[in-house]
């Protein structure tokens, strides 16, 4: 029973990673791609690790998988933030149909006041 459940979780995880990859190819600019990649990779990987935990029960492997889940939840969004911020600072443009960019507006205003 637990093996079936674990395999289902691993399957769901693989499916979400696939969605993330499709997003990486289809979406127009870096920021949108980061969104898809971060969300899907995080939940996908966590789901796969959860499947491993369910399959293996309370063992050394599942404890390490649990720690991996915690660290992925902490680091993956942080890495996305760092990449997005670095890209914005080094001048990567948003998609041309984007609605607004209040970050750039505020940065311009700050530069004007310091000049």
């Amino acid at each position: 029973m637990s093996e079936i459940l674990g395999n289902i979780l691993i399957g769901i995880g693989a499916l979400f990673v696939l969605f993330g990859t499709v997003g990486l190819v289809r979406l127009p600019d870096l920021y949108n791609r980061l969104q898809a990649a971060t969300k899907c990779a995080t939940l996908g990987t966590c789901s796969i690790l959860l499947g491993v935990i369910v399959n293996r029960g309370l063992s050394a492997v599942s404890m390490k998988a649990l720690l991996c889940i915690i660290f992925i939840l902490l680091t993956s969004p942080t890495a996305a933030h760092a990449l997005a911020r670095a890209a914005h600072i080094s001048g990567v443009k948003l998609w041309n149909k984007s609605v607004c960019d209040q970050y750039a507006e505020d940065n311009d205003r700050k530069e004007e006041t310091t000049k």
């Binding site: 979400f16 969605f19 993330g20 499709v22 997003g23 289809r26 979406l27 127009p28 600019d29 920021y31 949108n32 980061l34 969104q35 898809a36 971060t38 969300k39 899907c40 995080t42 939940l43 996908g44 063992s59 050394a60 404890m63 390490k64 649990l66 720690l67 939840l73 902490l74 969004p77 942080t78 996305a80 933030h81 997005a84 911020r85 914005h88 948003l94 998609w95 149909k97 984007s98 609605v99 607004c100 960019d101 209040q102 970050y103 750039a104 505020d106």
Partner: protein, 170 residues
Amino acid sequence: MARKFFSYFCISYLFWLLLYWPFGVDRIASLQGLLVGVPVAFLVTLLFGGVFARQPEKIFQAKRYFWFLYYVPVFIYYCVLANLDVAYRVLSPEMPINPGIVKVKTSLRSRSGLTALANSITLTPGTMSVDLTEDGYIYIHWINVQTQDVEKASELIVRPFEKILKRIFE
């Protein structure tokens, strides 16, 4: 200071215990592992103790854990919703996206609280935190911009988490 050191020590030792989980094959092996963990955790605390949260003694306040337990299902719900949202946007042929970077305001001030909030925002539907300023503004890349007003955007994006995270981290 001693209290802070002790808190960090407990956290590092807990991680050691989780890594060492089955505690060896027999009693001597498990005792060895538990004893080795003490100097290791001590050394880690000594080297990296100052880098992370400023008030680690908060981990001993039981009330925060109940709010954390309440936060976990809320977070999982939004996380799954976010993934279904991304799947929908990516797989539908006309790609319904309307992206932009908006600014929201938060009342959280502690560093760990802000980190948790920014991470939660990144993992929830359609939003990703790009940068945060010291006076509590977060810049968010929104895949489907509904409003450009700071107050309304805060209401939509930040409020569901802010209340809970405030009880956990501040």
